[in-house]
């Protein structure tokens, strides 16, 4: 093995580089070219001066963030919500396995179609729907609790229950959608494997355990790594819409905080600094998880 052979390898596979070309060019132009913009976090950015000519601020905005009253609270809330939703990660996989093992084809197709429909409800409507159905005075929940003669909890107005409401409504909305990729991966299983397993007397459970799950592993681990890499990046819109004065102590997360400060006055540098902090943490997490996964399962992103 030497440089010459590697070169030969490159030459032989020129077709592959051609396949990569459009993606590489687009990424360079629209993702890498604007990256000089992170400088904003280290400058007193003034739009009139432009990014290059704005005066340097050093770590001023980072310090401001670390010293801010909300720093620890928002980080904590963000982590609670994202770790909680990480726990629900296997649910779409289970759903995919269940769907895969349904024999009645028509029911299966119907089930699958229904399960992914909630994904299309926009966040604004989704939160509106939650408020109506979970309302402590008139909602569906109140009626259900009424049946067993108990008083319904105020789900939307409780700080302690906020993360549960957020995460489980998310599961409801996206579980079907998220399972699609796993169903597709299962479709790649060679049916002759199942046949062989049946002949060998394997039970359903064994087939799931020894055929399906190994088939799903690479996809599942890849998605899990990406998910961990996005740990601090809990989406902003839904949390923001769900916030109210009663649950704010658990619902103020990084992204909503940045939004509020950024919106009140255009503090570009400050919000850039918080974003950069977020990015760096996520990137470190990603690298750690990726290394771990490489050791444990031989799956890795790079």
């Amino acid at each position: 093995m030497n440089a010459g052979r590697t070169f030969g390898q490159v030459k032989r596979n020129w077709g592959l580089y051609l396949l990569l070309l459009p993606a590489v060019v687009l990424t360079l132009l629209f993702a890498y070219k604007p990256m000089y913009g992170v400088l904003i976090a280290f400058k007193n950015y003034s739009p009139a001066l432009g990014i290059t000519d704005s005066p340097w601020a050093g770590f001023k905005y980072f310090e401001k963030f670390f010293n801010s009253y909300q720093f620890s609270a928002t980080i904590k809330n963000t982590l609670i919500i994202s770790l909680y939703s990480l726990i629900t990660f296997p649910i779409p996989i289970i759903l995919a396995l269940v769907i895969n093992h349904m024999r009645a084809n028509r029911f299966r197709r119907f089930f699958q179609t229904i399960s992914y429909m909630p994904h299309f409800i926009s966040t604004v409507v989704m939160v509106g729907l939650m408020m109506i159905l979970l309302s402590p005075s008139t909602g569906l929940l109140v009626n259900l609790f009424g049946l067993i003669g108990k008083e319904a909890p105020d789900l939307m107005g409780s700080a302690g229950l906020f993360s549960s409401v957020y995460v489980w409504s998310d599961v409801w909305q996206h579980v079907g959608w998220d399972s699609i990729i796993f169903i597709a991966a299962l479709s790649a299983v060679d049916p002759s494997l199942y046949e062989a397993a049946t002949v060998d007397g394997a039970s359903r459970w064994h087939k799931v355990r020894y055929i399906d799950i190994p088939m799903l592993m690479p996809t599942a681990i890849t998605l899990l790594i990406l998910r961990v890499g996005g740990l601090l990046g809990v989406g902003f819109e839904k949390v923001y819409l769900m916030q109210n004065d009663l649950n704010i102590t658990s619902s103020e997360i990084l992204s909503t905080y940045v939004y509020k400060i950024g919106l009140l006055s255009s503090q570009y540098s400050f919000s850039s600094a918080i974003n950069l902090f977020n990015t760096v943490i996520n990137f470190i997490l990603l690298i750690l998880v990726n290394q771990l996964s490489k050791k444990v399962s031989e799956n890795s992103l790079w």
């Binding site: 990569l20 990256m35 990014i51 269940v98 409507v125 109506i132 690479p218």
Partner: protein
């Protein structure tokens, strides 16, 4: 020999009974799950035919209350919705085609273990998932390329979707047997021809999933339009619907002006019909996609 077969048969029988237990569990689970899923969806449908005050007041349960088509009628009064439909369909179709070509081909190349620089190229893409220059420099870049307020900005600059690329790469790695390429190579087949004639036909499932993801992404997106478009004739459906639906700022900004009250009443009326009107077209795509990953795409190719 005899004994072996009989234990086998017994084992299969045992498994049959445990299988049917599992079957029952699966269907019970499925039905309960289905109910939980369906009710809110059903609620949206009946709410779209109901008096909006009754809906928000929690009086709509099992059937529409104060049955009315007002929500739909009101929605159809906005003629810019048709322009929005047209634009969204265009963006979705063109964007999905571009997205599929760019991401699937790159993903395949990255899935090949004999690609020199594979690790670095993967990092090159993954890095952009976590690190971006932010909105302002990206906007300046787009503007410098004279793409601001054009059709192109809606389908090209953001067509590299690294997440999708990684998923596709994983699929290629785990589902396309490596010996296929070796066999093809022996036959003197080049990378490009192999990719088009062998890999793509084997990858219907992943193309279907990615196509669906990208299409739904384009169908639902409004943010890029908000930032990079200013000509209302280029606005996609979701941006137009958003402007009709969001009224809370108006409410606080206009005191309790009558106009704000009316806008809010109309928005409430259209809240649910909007979901139906905006979602039904993209829902129709699903059955076409679904059939591609129902089962066993691999058998034929491997046996040949």
């Amino acid at each position: 020999m005899e004994a072996v077969t009989s234990t086998r048969v017994r084992k299969i029988k045992n498994n049959r009974s445990s299988d049917s237990v599992m079957e029952v569990i699966i269907y019970v689970f499925a039905v309960v799950f289905l109910l939980i899923l369906i009710y809110p969806l059903y609620f949206i449908v009946i709410a779209s035919f109901s008096d909006p005050s009754a809906v928000a007041g929690g009086q709509v349960w099992l059937y529409p209350k104060g049955f009315t088509f007002d929500g739909y009628r009101e929605l159809l009064k906005h003629d810019n919705i048709w322009i929005g439909y047209r634009n969204t369909i265009l963006y979705t179709v063109v964007g999905t085609v571009i997205g599929l070509v760019v991401n699937i081909s790159a993903a395949y190349a990255l899935s090949r273990k004999d690609l020199v620089g594979r690790k670095l190229l993967s990092l090159f893409f993954i890095f952009t998932m976590f690190f971006s220059g932010g909105l302002i420099p990206t906007f300046l870049t787009i503007r410098d390329f004279h793409m601001y307020d054009t059709f192109l900005v809606m389908v090209l600059p953001f067509s590299v979707m690294v997440y999708n690329m990684i998923v596709a790469r994983t699929f290629f790695q785990s589902s396309i047997p490596g010996d296929l390429w070796e066999a093809a190579q022996m036959d003197g087949c080049g990378n490009l021809r192999y990719f088009i004639t062998v890999v793509l036909p084997l990858s219907k499932a992943i193309i279907a999933v990615l196509g669906l993801w990208i299409a739904v992404g384009y169908w639902n997106s409004y943010f890029n339009a908000l930032i990079y478009l200013k000509n209302p004739n280029l606005y996609p459906l979701q941006l137009i619907l958003r402007n009709i639906l969001i009224t809370n700022q108006m409410q606080s900004g206009m005191g309790s002006g009558e106009a704000a009250q009316i806008a809010m009443r109309l928005a409430n009326m259209m809240r649910y019909s909007v979901i139906i009107v905006a979602t039904v077209p993209i829902l129709c795509v699903y059955p076409f996609v679904q059939k591609h990953f129902n089962q066993g795409v691999m058998i034929g190719a491997v046996k040949e």
